[in-house]
Amino acid sequence: MPRNIDQLRKQYNSSASEQRRHGPGGPRGGGPGMRGATGKPKDTKKTLSRLLGYVKGYTGRIIAVLLCMMLSTVTSLIGGYMLAPVINKLSETVAPDLAGNLSLLERAVGDKVSVLSRLVLGDDSVLPFISAAMMILAAVYIVGVATTYVQSRLMLTVTTGIVEKIRNDLFEKLQKLPVRYFDGHPTGEIMSRFTNDIDNIETMLSNSLTSLISGAVTLIGTLVFMITTSWILTLIVVAFFPVFAIGGAKIAGMSRKYYVSQQAALGAVNGYMEETVTGQKVIKVFNHEDECVEEFGLLNNDMRDKQFKAQFWGGVVGPIMGNTSQITLAVTIGVGGILMLGGLLGAGGLTVFSNYARQFSMPINQISQQMATVFAALAGAERVFEVMDTDPEAKDPDGAVDFGDMKGDVRLDDVTFGYVPGKTVLKHISLYAKPGQKIAFVGSTGAGKTTVTNLLNRFYDIDEGKITIDGVDIRDIKRDELRRNIAMVLQDTHLFTGTVMENIRYGRLDATDDEVIEAAKTASAHSFIMRLSDGYNTMLEGDGANLSQGQRQLLNIARAAISKAPILVLDEATSSVDTRTERHIEHGMDRLMKNRTTFVIAHRLSTVRNSNAIMVLEAGEIIERGSHEELLAMKGRYYELYTGKKELD
């Protein structure tokens, strides 16, 4: 039975980021959620000064940009003004007795043009005068265009440079963060730092900064020109100022309100779509298509209604604000006409004034719009910096040992550990593995098998006890050295975009092609690789979506095989490989494990049978240990598991 809209909204609305947090496998750390891409920055000053830090390297260029920008804004103001003397001169000539009073500035500019005209053209009668004015105008325009160009080019280098640096810094920081961080932050959330947040910063840098400054300069310049032309008209324009400010804020508030509810509806639609498209095959098997279409229709219509409101309110800003400024213009022109009658204003003055009045709302709109962008960008920057400020994996202590090659003698001594303080996952674990031995972990899901191996390479640091390799506490070994010596095949098979060859070589970057092929053979991956369209050069995309789960596991094994690490961890490495194939790779696996200390976690007990020792874990404790035969003889938990008397999950 299709659900109604309220149920659907509830179930899919908040789910978008929530559900990803509980990704399959892996421990679940706490970590406060950082939801939503907008929101106001908390500490504007600090964030701003930090952003300024990125600008530092470009101080010279920024100053040049600012100068160019001022210059180009001023030229555009002057450009607009140069029509005044022309129109005045023409009016004077056409109707000399009607010429109105010229403002001081108009007279001054007119005089300057006359001087130039006499100087260059030897005459300041009408035509030479206008030619001279146009010469000035052309010069001003050229300067304006040139400065705009230089400014844009400089700013482009600055913006892209800063954004590139922020991206690099953020990515490098990610590489340093502990695994714990990724447990508590879903991929989507981290991704939105790279996409939304950095996008916002980029928009701010490339548009807002220049717009804000040029907007401010234009506003001031326009005011100055307007006042000098006619203070009465200027008063009228300024009187409209609150209308713009308040009206603009009101409409912006409406559109923001509906925008938020639209985003929520969109989240629900996307969540529903993602789920049902992913589960499409199940839907087919259950003939559930019609219900889905119906439920989707409800969500879709709900979103449509909200989108309409958001779009409508966003769309009326332009016409309302724009036409309010046309009204301002109308009033100035009407009053201007009366002023002209009284001889208080010239035709040229009115022409340029009307241009300024028409434009007057532009910088105001520009500034208020840009302020929104700036806030979004600052909020984004704050989130980016938040990631950058997260504590990285602890530094290696002074005097950390720089192991060359380890022998692989691993000891855990009374190790206790919990992902969250107060919730222990492993209790008093003690075990040892001599070089070359194979130790297996068996137990139900959540017993702590994977956790043990994650402690070995310090994905997590233990709370109590001690882990040593070749007699040295692993906390005293350089972390990179430690990890280099432990090859892992993980439960979740992950591959990288790139060729099969590159993916295997990931285990040892300097491996030759022959060595890669050798490793693939060890993992029994060679034959299926050869059947791929381009063999070892086949591109894998989207986490190797074109391979079966079993094939991906074989590639993962090959990747571990190529590394020369003396310690090997196999965490459910062959769970999706059928038993027959598994048997085929047994030889390869034996070769792989030879001379390496190996830790095996397997669901399938046939895989662990020939281990030197098997540890049965339950609720974080080793409850049984011994060889396969010893454990069977014990008739305890292992015996139950092996003979299928108990559930394994």
Binding site: I87, L137, T148, M191, F194, G337, R580, L648
Partner: protein, 578 residues
């Protein structure tokens, strides 16, 4: 084109009224400068009065109010039109996906289907919204301004004969040079983001192989590459924008020079105010061209989206029941027969996934299928509910070709638990009722009991009302599999297919599930694909498959005696020695 128009049809009034409203703005913008010109001219002629000034003011205010109403109306209709259009399009694409066969779904990855339904539809929505508000306005503004200018002073308008073509060439240059670069930037950005995504999901791999520096290097290269491409794309715009301004400025200078000569010569009764008006039109014409450029840039992106949506809509759904001869026939006995069935996933590939399968399964029997990864087990059973259609041969259920059933009846009669299974957001009970939405609580509970799921469900605080998160991530793998089995059982299917769906359930529980099948589903045919021999050992019939072919059929003992492969599998699981 017709396809896209279809979605607009129900909302035609919006689509017509929207641009019309916007035309009021065009008209207003064309008249406004003229009014100022008149004022200045009258002043120069000494004919200006207070009344005229106030009259012009009133007229301008009236026009501004009309324009405002037009603008608001335009926003209203444009939003109505675009959201409705997009909603219908989205619903249509979504229902289209619902009709897809497995083959179609395999072709598009689910990820790309989701993007098409979300981002791509939104792109089109934005395009419509913008087009409604600008498509008529930009050219309208240009034409209106041009007409007004020509009416005002035809002689002076000759200037446009030069400047407009030059501008058009500039616009063309941006399109030619800039567009490909912009789409390149988008591709590079997508790639950079997927690098990050991959890095984040693979964080444990990266760390365990100590490949942080390697990853940094990879990212830096991609990042630099993106920066360079986006710089070269921006450079085109940065170069073109001053060029266009320059053309506009040059036009203004020329107009002033020629125009003022005309004023002085009283050429065509030209007055200073006319010059003011004319210059305003110059600006308008050139502004509209800038708007057009912007619109084109925007639509290039939306067109790519339209193409991607079209692919989904145009995807031929090969698997349907249009030609079914016995649409009213339900599945009754559950007898299955394969006659010389062959199948390829890719029609051009040489390897057959299924190769000449002949097989007869009596109704009510229990059948096990075993074989190595990729041997075609899943494909074989997928033929029964027509998840795929075979290329050669035929599949019969109760002696009738599966293609002659209606899809609904056929699939209603078959309960299938897929290897890669999904539960959906909602309560456990809601999920189970997918099998039978009219089932009462008692039936739901009983089926869960058969699937050995009742015990753990009852242990949850909310029992059957426990909310499952997307994909059922808050239950364990084994629990999920049992819920999926219960869901299939609720269908009371004549044929039940379990595709490796107890792999995470321990052997003892699995045995209990099988026993429930035997006792409660006596009349149904049960097909079990498994990795473990123990899962199929007690079946009436076991099928051994290898490389798309059946290599053995028989009971456990028979196969153990005369099938090498079966023995090999058996030994690999029991340790050979015993």
């Amino acid at each position: 084109m017709k396809r896209w128009f279809r979605y607009a049809k129900p909302y035609l009034p919006y689509f017509i009224l929207g641009p019309l409203c916007m035309l009021t703005e065009v008209a207003g913008e064309a008249i406004m400068p003229r009014l100022l010109g008149i004022l200045i001219n009258r002043a120069n002629e000494g004919l200006l009065t207070t009344g005229l000034s106030l009259g012009i003011m009133a007229a301008m205010i009236a026009i501004a109010l009309v324009m405002m109403a037009g603008g608001v109306g335009g926003a209203y209709f444009a939003s109505k039109a675009s959201v409705n259009y997009a909603a219908d399009l989205r619903a249509d694409v979504y229902s289209r996906v619902q009709t897809f066969s497995f083959e179609n779904i395999d072709k598009f990855s689910t990820g790309s289907l989701v993007t098409r339904l979300t981002n791509d539809v939104t792109q089109i929505q934005n395009l419509i919204n913008m087009m409604m508000r600008m498509a008529l306005r930009a050219p309208g503004m240009m034409i209106a301004a041009l007409i007004m200018a020509i009416i005002l002073k035809p002689g002076l308008s000759v200037v446009f004969a030069v400047s407009i073509p030059v501008m058009l060439i500039a616009v063309g240059f941006i399109i030619m040079k800039g567009f490909p670069l912009f789409s390149k930037v988008q591709t590079k950005l997508d790639r950079l983001n997927s690098t990050v995504q991959e890095n984040v999901t693979n964080v444990r791999v990266v760390k365990s192989f100590v490949r942080e520096d390697h990853e940094n290097g990879k990212f830096r290269t991609a990042n630099r590459d993106l920066r360079n491409t986006s710089m070269s794309a921006s450079k085109v715009m940065i170069f073109m924008s001053p060029v266009m301004t320059l053309i506009m400025n040059a036009t203004v200078v020329v107009v002033v020079l020629i125009g003022s000569r005309m004023v002085l010569n009283r050429d065509g009764g030209m007055l200073p105010g006319d010059l003011t008006t004319f210059i305003a039109y110059v600006t308008q014409i050139l502004m509209s061209l800038v708007m057009v450029t912007f619109m084109l840039t925007f639509s290039s992106r939306a067109l790519a989206s339209a193409r991607r949506i079209k692919e989904v809509l145009d995807e031929p759904v090969v698997l349907n029941d249009d030609e079914a001869a016995r649409k009213d026939l339900p599945v009754a006995a559950g007898e299955i027969e394969f006659k010389n069935v062959s199948f390829r996933y890719y029609k051009n590939s040489e390897d057959k996934v299924l190769d000449g399968i002949d097989l007869k399964i009596p109704g009510g029997s229990t059948v096990g299928i075993i074989g190595s990864t990729g041997c075609g087990k899943t494909t074989l059973v997928s033929m029964i509910p027509r998840l795929y259609d075979c290329d050669e041969g035929e599949v019969l259920v109760d002696g009738v070709n599966v293609r002659d059933y209606s899809l609904v009846n056929l699939r209603d009669g078959i309960g299938m638990v897929l290897q890669k299974n999904t539960l959906f957001s909602g309560t456990i009970a809601e999920n189970l009722r997918w099998g039978d939405e009219t089932a009462d609580d008692e039936t739901v509970r009983r089926m869960a009991e058969y699937a050995q799921a009742d015990k753990f469900v009852s242990s949850f605080k909310d029992g059957y009302d426990t909310m499952l998160e997307q994909g059922g991530t808050n239950v364990s793998g084994g629990q999920k599999q049992r819920l999926c089995i219960a869901r299939a059982l609720l269908k009371q299917p004549k044929i039940l297919i379990l595709d490796d769906s107890t792999s995470a359930v321990d052997t003892a529980t699995e045995a209990m599930i099988r026993r429930a099948f035997r006792e409660e589903l006596q009349g149904s045919t049960k097909i079990i694909i498994a990795q473990r021999i123990s899962s199929v050992m007690d079946s009436d019939m076991i099928i051994v498959m290898n490389d798309g072919k059946i290599t053995g059929i028989g009971t456990h003992d028979q196969l153990l005696a005369d099938n090498v492969e079966y023995r090999e599998i058996y030994e690999s699981q029991t340790g050979g020695a015993n």
